[in-house]
Amino acid sequence: MGILEVKNVGKRFGGLQALSDVNLSVAENTVHAIIGPNGAGKSTLLNCLIGKLIPDTGSVSFDGQSVLGRKPFEICQMGISRVFQTPEIFGDLTVMENMMIPGFAKRDGAFELNPMQRLLAQKDVIAHAEHALEDMGLADKRHMNAASMSRGDKRRLEIAMCLSQDPRLLLLDEPTAGMARADTNNTIDLLKRIKDERDITIAIIEHDMHVVFSLAERITVLAQGTPLVEDTPDNIKGHPKVREAYLGETQEVA
C-alpha cells in the first residue's frame, strides 16, 4: 500500500479522453518518475492529485485519505506540494517573501488573522527561508523581485518554496526544464539529499532522461492517457515499446 494510491482515474476534455483508467501506486519515501510523450496526460494526472482538476472517474487517496472533493489548499495542508510546468511564483514579491509564504502556511495553517504581528519578528520563518535560499543558491537574489529573475532561477525558487513546506509528497512537473546543466545536477543532488534526510516521497515528471534515470526508483510510462508500463529504470531503458514511443533511437541514456 503506497502513500499515494490512484485507482481507475479517468478524465475527459470535451472529445478528448485525456486520462483513462489510470492506476498508480507510489510507495512511501521513493522517487517515482512518470514519463511519456507530450500530451500523454502526465500534467493532467498531477492536476487531479492536487485538486486543480476533478477526475471524472476513479479515486485518489493520500496516506489512506481521499483527496477528491477537497480544495487545493486543504490537499496542500495534507502534505502534497507541487512544482508547476510553467513557474508559478509570486511575481510581485521579493524572492525572500516568496520563501516566507510557504513558511507561514506551514506554521500557521491555511488562514491566520495576524495583522498585528510583525513580519520581521518572525525569526523562525525567516531563518528557515534564508536557509532554503542558501540551499538553492538563490541567497544573493533574495531582494530581487521574483518576476524579474531569469526562468531557470524562477524554477529553482519554486522548488525551494515547495520544499520549505516540508511536504510528505512532492510533485515535480519538469523541474529542471530550462535549467543550466550545472544547476540540473545540483537539483538532482538536492532532491536526493532531501529524500534521504527527510521522510519525503517524490513523484516527478521529466523529459530529461538524465534526471529521470539519476533519481527514479520506479518509472511509470504514460501514453495516450493510460499507463503503458511500470517498472524499474533499468527495465524501462530497454523496453522496446518505450524506446519506440518515447525515447527514440538516438537517445543516449546517461
Binding site: P37, N38, G41, G178, R181, Q251
Partner: protein, 251 residues
C-alpha cells in the same frame, strides 16, 4: 582560440565574410538594470549559431533585443539583417523583414485555438509554410486544431510555437530553448527539421541549455556570461575545449 575578443574598436567588417545578421555593440536595459552589456557577433547565411550560457547570462535578453521587442530597451548598438537596419525598426517591422522568434515561454495566445494561433501568424506578409505542411510536421497539432492553444500540453505548446514561426517566410529563426519540455523522440524530430530547413538556407540562432546537443547541431557557438560575450568561435572548438565548457557551461 579567442576567449575574450576585443570589440571595443568595433568589428572589422573587411576581415570577416559578409555577415547575414550582424549585431554590433548592443547594450540593453530592463528599466534600470543593465543586462546586455555590449554584445557583437555575426551570423552567416545558412548557419546555425548556438548561443550558450548559464541561467541569467542574458541569452533571452539578447534574442529579445534582436527581435526589437522593446523590453529590454536597446540603448546603443546596431543590428543589421540582410542589409536592413533592424535597430531602427519596431518588432513588427523586424518581423516583416524576416525575423522569427520562438520565445522561451512559448507565448501561445490565450483565447485563440491552435489553428487561429497559426492563422494569426499568416496575416502579415511574408507567408511561409502552409498550415497543412505544418500539421504534417506536427500531427498532434492537426489533431488539436480546434482546441484552445493554451490548454495544450507543455510539449504541444512548444510545437505550436515553432510551427507559428515557420508559418512565416522568415530569413532568421531565433529559437529560445526549443527543446524544453519535449519528449526525446520529438526533440529528434525537431532537430531533423532544423537540419532540413538549414539545407534550404535558413539562418538560425539556437539558445539551448543542453549544450552538447546544441553544439552537435550548430556550426558556430557564442557563449555569454553576465551580459557579455566570452567566446565566439566554431562549435567543435567548444566541444573540444573542456576548460571552457567547465568554466562557462559547467559540463
Amino acid at each position: 582560440m579567442n576567449v575574450k575578443p576585443d570589440f571595443s574598436k568595433g568589428i572589422n567588417h573587411a576581415e570577416t565574410a559578409p555577415a547575414f545578421l550582424s549585431v554590433w555593440d548592443m547594450h540593453a536595459y530592463y528599466g534600470e538594470s543593465y543586462i546586455v552589456q555590449g554584445i557583437s557577433f555575426n551570423v552567416h547565411e545558412g548557419e546555425i549559431l548556438a548561443l550558450l550560457g548559464r541561467n541569467g547570462a542574458g541569452k533571452t535578453s539578447t534574442l529579445r533585443s534582436i527581435a526589437r521587442i522593446g523590453d529590454p530597451q536597446v540603448t546603443h548598438g546596431e543590428i543589421w539583417l540582410d542589409h536592413q537596419p533592424l535597430h531602427k525598426m519596431s518588432s513588427h517591422e523586424a518581423a516583416r523583414v524576416g525575423l522569427g522568434l520562438v520565445p522561451e515561454d512559448r507565448r501561445i495566445i490565450p483565447g485563440l485555438t491552435v489553428e487561429e494561433n497559426i492563422k494569426l501568424a499568416q496575416i502579415a506578409p511574408p507567408i511561409g509554410w502552409s498550415i497543412e505542411r505544418l500539421y504534417d510536421l506536427f500531427p498532434r497539432l492537426g489533431e488539436r486544431r480546434n482546441q484552445e492553444g493554451v490548454t495544450l500540453s507543455g510539449g504541444e505548446q512548444q510545437m505550436l510555437a515553432i510551427a507559428r514561426a515557420l508559418s512565416r517566410d522568415i530569413k532568421v529563426l531565433l529559437l529560445d530553448e526549443p527543446y524544453e519540455g519535449l519528449a526525446p523522440v520529438i526533440v529528434d524530430e525537431i532537430e531533423k527539421t532544423l537540419r532540413v530547413i538549414k539545407e534550404q538556407g535558413m539562418t538560425t540562432i539556437l539558445v539551448e541549455q543542453n549544450a552538447v546537443r546544441a553544439l552537435q547541431l550548430a556550426d558556430r557557438a557564442v557563449i555569454l556570461d553576465t551580459g557579455g560575450i566570452v567566446f565566439d568561435g566554431s562549435a567543435s572548438e567548444v566541444l573540444e575545449n573542456a576548460e571552457l565548457r567547465a568554466e562557462y557551461l559547467a559540463i
